[in-house]
Symmetry: C2
Subunit: 151 residues, 2 copies
DNA sequence: CGCATTTCGGATAATGAGGTCTTATTTTCA
DNA sequence: TGAAAATAAGACCTCATTATCCGAAATGCG
């Protein structure tokens, strides 16, 4: 698996927040229901996202979570690193510590190139751009296969 | 992590076997020592590799494991699929089941392209080619950082 | 104030990957 | 035939991730 469950959940949740373009806070309960992610686990994930300053939260009625910064400035790379660390974009594909130009493993050159492209993919993508495309193209963030008609 | 520990170990072990170009069988003990991989765990991994027909084994003195086929016909892709399955090359980066052209997630198009490149990287590389480069360029398969002088 | 709503945070459980240990089985060779 | 060498295979342990549960703390509102 490329990304951990936590990271997949976190990305989807922030994309959802961004695509909603709703003023104020969105409750974890709402996100949990809409994206079919465990409520309690989502709480844990947002504790991390809050801690690194990607989101903020508000307790009490009409509380919830919200993006802490302009979504145009938040890259998916930031989110991945916050939740999974940067190993994916740094480590040897064979797990050899210290693998690099000086002491390369057999896959180093090709993997390093692939790794950089992967990093670029996540660095280029912002929450704002992702949200725009999601709204325009009706991309889905949920696990449901039927069209989710607004009630 | 892109590949599981098992998969990293399996790839390194098969690359080692191929690069050794030794007639007959190589004992797990030898591979374990040379690559600094747990002996018992390596045994488990070769049970899988034997089962799928990538390697064969022989018990008793002068026994061990060996490649079951011409290394020029064994791709790294085969090894990865045997040990980690093909999810990495098939699944949605956000973990959404059924994500595809029909019901894409926001990252689908870019990820699908990246995923295909990744698959190609592993499909193009054969054990024979990897072994040749490893011998010629003195690539390393071990975790040690000092040059391993032949005794 | 008092109550409902909501996140916070610690404790706890479940799961699977990673790793170890032990015994059985096969093979070679003296 | 017996001992040694080697893989096979099942049982078991460990740990991080994933997930759940519950009480505490904060917030808004009548």
């Amino acid at each position: 698996m490329l990304l951990s469950n936590s990271c997949e959940y976190g990305l989807r949740a922030l994309m959802y927040l961004s695509a909603e373009e709703q003023e104020g806070y969105v409750s974890l309960r709402t996100i949990s229901k809409r994206l079919d992610i465990s409520f309690a686990f989502l709480g844990k994930i947002f504790q991390i996202l809050n801690a690194v300053g990607l989101s903020t939260s508000q307790r009490g009625p009409s509380g919830g979570v919200a993006l802490a910064r302009d979504p145009a400035t938040i890259t998916l790379y930031e989110v991945v690193v916050a939740l999974d660390g940067e190993d994916l974009f740094r480590e040897c594909v064979l797990g050899l510590p210290g693998c690099g130009e000086r002491q390369p493993c057999p896959m180093h050159r090709e993997w390093a190139q692939q790794r950089d492209q992967l990093e670029l993919l996540f660095r280029r993508a912002t929450l704002a751009e992702t949200a725009r495309e999601t709204r325009e193209q009706n991309y889905r963030l949920t696990t449901l296969t039927n069209e989710d008609a607004p009630e």
